[in-house]
């Protein structure tokens, strides 16, 4: 297995604030990762460390097998697209794109032109005169056209409206299939992107709450509902994230493996079983106040 990123025991403190605590993750080649977390979970801090824009307080990071700090060979193969601060204010769009093309060895000029056309972005406008949405478009054009072996989007699409984001998702998937590479999408707009992800990392309060294959995670997250006694009986030995009762009825949210036998048991009983959308699972895992019992140690 080839790992593009390896983080070992990474912690980062800002004064008394612990932004990241003992992060251990490995990112595999040519997969799309979702780095999910609430505001302030530590997503951007982690990405800045991976891109060598920030030192960890303790721990070690290796990208393409080497330390990224002041390492040209590593850094020219990473493209970290941020929400802001990527470009000089007084540059025209076309000059910003020209400068970016010099940074990234795999730059595809034709693709950049096509994206400029499709987004209908005015090449002669100054960066500082662009709207929030247009700034996002420019960031996305650079991120996609760079074709970097490691491409990271740290919520640059937040400034786009819904059709703009959909266009970004479509073009990203199309381009990923034509030019497979490692992509990390950092976001809290989980509903919109969850189906595109192969792997998921959920950060919560600076720690990794859950990581793994998206389908395997989905395959553990279920709503079980029905008669209270029956539900309670079924979830007795399961990890329960949340439960609600109404009269004789009960709804339980479980995050646990279910054997085929147990699923068959549910189908031939009065209980209902249903998958949980990733965003809802995320809320149960990170909502704090809603979680009544069940501790996830994964």
């Amino acid at each position: 297995m080839t790992y593009i990123i390896e983080c070992e025991d990474i912690s980062k403190s800002f004064g008394k604030t612990n932004a990241l605590v003992d992060i251990n993750i490995k990112i595999q080649e040519n997969k799309i990762y979702g780095l999910l977390g609430r505001n302030g979970a530590g997503k951007s801090t982690l990405l800045n460390i991976i891109d060598a824009q920030m030192f960890p307080t303790t721990g070690e990071v290796r990208v393409f097998g080497e330390t990224p700090f002041e390492n040209k060979k590593v850094l020219e193969n990473i493209c970290l697209v941020k929400e802001s601060g990527m470009f000089l204010k007084d540059l025209k769009v076309k000059d910003a794109i020209y400068l970016a093309s010099l940074f990234y060895p795999n730059w595809d000029t034709g693709f950049a032109e096509r994206l400029l056309d499709e987004f209908e972005l005015d090449k002669n406008k100054l960066y500082k005169n662009l709207s929030l949405g247009m700034k996002s478009q420019l960031s996305i054009i650079v991120g996609l056209s760079g074709r970097s072996p490691l491409t990271i989007f740290d919520e640059p699409y937040i400034g786009l409206d819904a059709p703009g984001r959909q266009f970004f998702y479509d073009i990203l998937m199309e381009d990923y299939m034509n030019n497979p590479r490692t992509i990390i999408l950092s976001t809290h707009l989980i509903d919109e992107i969850s189906n595109m992800l192969e792997e998921i990392i959920i950060l919560h309060k600076g720690k990794v709450k859950i990581e793994g294959n998206a389908d395997e995670i989905r395959n553990k997250a279920f709503y079980i509902s029905g008669d209270k006694m029956q539900v309670e009986n079924f979830i007795k030995f399961k990890k329960v994230l949340h439960e609600e009762c109404m009269g004789e009825n009960m709804l339980a949210v479980i995050y646990d493996s279910l054997y085929e036998k147990e699923k068959a048991e549910i189908y031939s009983s009065d209980l209902n079983i249903s998958s949980i959308p990733m965003q809802q699972l995320f809320i149960y895992l990170t909502g704090g106040k809603m979680v009544k019992r069940g501790v996830i140690n994964e």
């Binding site: 479509d170 998937m173 189906n195 595109m196 192969e198 998206a214 389908d215 189908y267």
Partner: protein, 125 residues
């Protein structure tokens, strides 16, 4: 255009089910090529690895087979395999639920059979 997915079911199972339905309906015939993982990914807006999981599930069950370098094809006898499997599921999913609901409504077995006969003749009640 995006095909719609159901939030309450696993995505790769839905991909597998979509292929099974096409074979049952006859729009996918034996020895015909199935959509590629990338085509499914585009059609449903999902990760190609998820689409591959759905397709591989059917390869394991012997419903699809792989031609190296070309793609996935519908196996001989796939349709009857699916019918057999769905018949078993029919008992578990539909008959069970039907009987259960009928019990709640105090509908006897005879009444139930009567209702099915009437339904077939096009009478509403």
């Amino acid at each position: 255009m995006k095909m719609l997915l159901d939030d309450s079911k696993l995505i790769y199972i839905q991909i597998a089910d979509a292929i099974l339905d096409d074979i049952l309906k006859g729009s996918l015939k034996e020895d015909e090529q199935v959509y590629s993982t990338n085509q499914f990914a585009k059609l449903y807006g999902i990760n190609p690895a998820t689409a591959a999981k759905g397709i591989n599930l059917l390869v394991e069950e012997g419903i699809l087979y792989k031609k190296r370098g070309i793609g996935m094809f519908v196996a001989a006898g796939a349709k009857s395999m699916i019918i057999n499997k769905r018949r078993k599921q029919f008992v578990e999913e539909y008959i069970f639920k039907l009987m259960n609901e009928a019990k709640k409504l105090n509908i006897t077995k005879e009444e139930l059979i009567n209702l099915i006969n009437k339904y077939e003749r096009g009478e509403k009640r």
